[in-house]
Symmetry: C2
């Protein structure tokens, strides 16, 4: 059994690789602090990206949304004077409307996600990190912004000064998340190559989660979302610069210090391996860019093998 | 000033003719007893048909929905295991989602409708009959059915034994409806060729509306939805048969006895004119089938002229 922590695009890619190899033996715990309400509909961007990617219906170009999407709804909303800054596709909307109806009928986000995944033929278990609302707030020189307003509305253009996760103190990881991290047959925990500040941090900031990870007593492997000073996708590198940190895998590793035991980074960053090792982590250098399904499966296989190698007591 | 009472397709056609001739001098009061909630979204089929028709975006073949509609949402809902019996198009959905969000934000259906109509460039005033929920229940040998389940879900196949309008006692016509019927410059009230049982009856069954119509002191002209024993569209004729009534314009006229002063019916039904006149109504025979915009405007013009002719004291 493997548990993966994931945010959006990059995380979903590795999660898909893991799921392709291990099927129902993979549990993906997904960030929900990006969630927001739009046009009265609850939207879970990271959950949806993971679901669509694992379900094989993700738009391969955009990295978000559904393949073969159409835009009649958005065009008509615009014509009727509604907001068009968040691009809701017609097929994507089915997820949001069904989820909204189920939530209003009293179902938990965890159950709703399980049903949707079942319909999409996903064998791996996809778990929202919490059924409670947690909302990422972006601190900036222009004041505080809800995450989607920063991310989509302002296209990450505003320099950030920090982040807060509204509601995190009162939120709880679900019983399903706790059970996954406590599973007796858990082999490894993998932090997917997602944004450490806004994708992984909300998950590990939930009350009790750091302790659950530590108590699991299994290798914890993080995959760098940064290659050669740049993020593969998204604002991670840009955020590091704005926060006064060097955009590098070593910065990611330092961020996870004390929690992560193995660190996977790109061969292009080999010169930083000693820096990461100095943090007390075992380093695995490999190609971490995932261009296609074959890359995803290869990287997933390497991560599992790496975790297993860490799992063995030294000298055994 | 003209007030028209309308349900769905047939009513919308005549309303469009009236609006084309008189623009903002027309107020269309629309049945909302067909309204229901689907996938957590409030749907107002008759309001939407009237809006889309007056806005020039109605699907001319179907008689409902939006022209050039796409179905990505419905396809995906079906794939995800959601209900597909009610066909929500991608563009149509924009109306329902925006309306739902506005209702939840506390706006009245009347205000929301006015905003949507403004966006669609509709000069005529379109008023829901009430901001309160009224729901048509269809009585049948199989028991009671909510209207849309009967109409869409069961395709009107079940014989009806009667109708009830849930909530009608506590519902009120809006101030806008009352003001339209009390307007000092009101010239005529026109009952569009809509189903008398499930489109017009809910409107005139709202507390106070019959009295407002009577007190208006203007000609009240009804247009038959039945031509030569058949409804142009919808189950009106079928319902009449099941209720033990003859499917004919005379049955419609009898249904409106005491409220309507002038009755417009098709020349094909000329032999029934004496029967209708015996009810105390003045009859106008003409072609009432509306195949295109030109038919709509011609019939609208005839209705207005007919009403004005009734309006003059006899012998003047």
């Amino acid at each position: 059994m493997i548990v993966a922590l994931a945010g959006g695009v990059g995380g979903a890619k590795l999660a898909e690789g893991l799921a392709a190899l291990m099927g129902s033996d993979v549990t993906v715990i997904v960030n929900t602090a990006d969630d927001f309400e739009h046009l009265g509909l609850p939207i879970s961007p990271d959950l949806d990206t993971v679901m669509y990617t694992l379900g094989g219906i993700a738009n391969p170009e955009a990295g978000w949304g559904v393949a073969g999407e159409t835009w009649g709804f958005l065009e008509q909303v615009t014509r009727l004077g509604g907001p068009s800054w968040f691009r809701l596709g017609d097929r994507d909307l089915a997820t949001h409307v069904l989820r909204s109806a189920a939530l209003r009928a009293g179902a938990r986000l965890t159950e709703i996600t399980a049903n949707l995944c079942h319909r999409l033929g996903i064998a791996a278990r996809v778990l929202p990190m919490s059924d409670d609302a947690v909302r990422t707030i972006v601190h900036s020189a222009e004041g505080d912004l809800p995450f989607q307003e920063y991310f989509v509305g302002r296209k990450c253009e505003i320099p950030v000064t920090g982040f807060a996760f509204d509601g995190i103190e009162k939120a709880r990881p679900t019983a399903e998340v706790e059970n996954a991290l406590r599973a007796p047959d858990l082999e490894a925990i993998i932090f997917c190559p997602s944004n450490p500040f806004v994708s992984i941090d909300p998950i590990i900031s939930l009350p009790g989660v750091r302790q659950l990870i530590a108590d699991a007593g299994v290798p914890v492997v993080a995959v760098s979302p940064i290659i050669d000073g740049a993020a593969v996708k998204g604002p991670a590198a840009k955020m590091m610069g704005e926060l006064g940190l060097e955009p590098s895998p070593a910065t990611v590793a330092a961020h996870y210090r004390g929690l992560v035991t193995g660190f996977v980074m790109d061969s292009a960053d080999a010169r930083l391996a000693p820096t990461v090792e100095a943090l007390g982590m075992i380093v695995r250098l490999t190609g971490i860019l995932m261009r296609d399904g074959s890359d995803r499966r290869r990287l997933a296989r390497e991560c599992i093998a790496f975790a297993r190698s860490i799992g063995r007591p030294i000298g055994s």
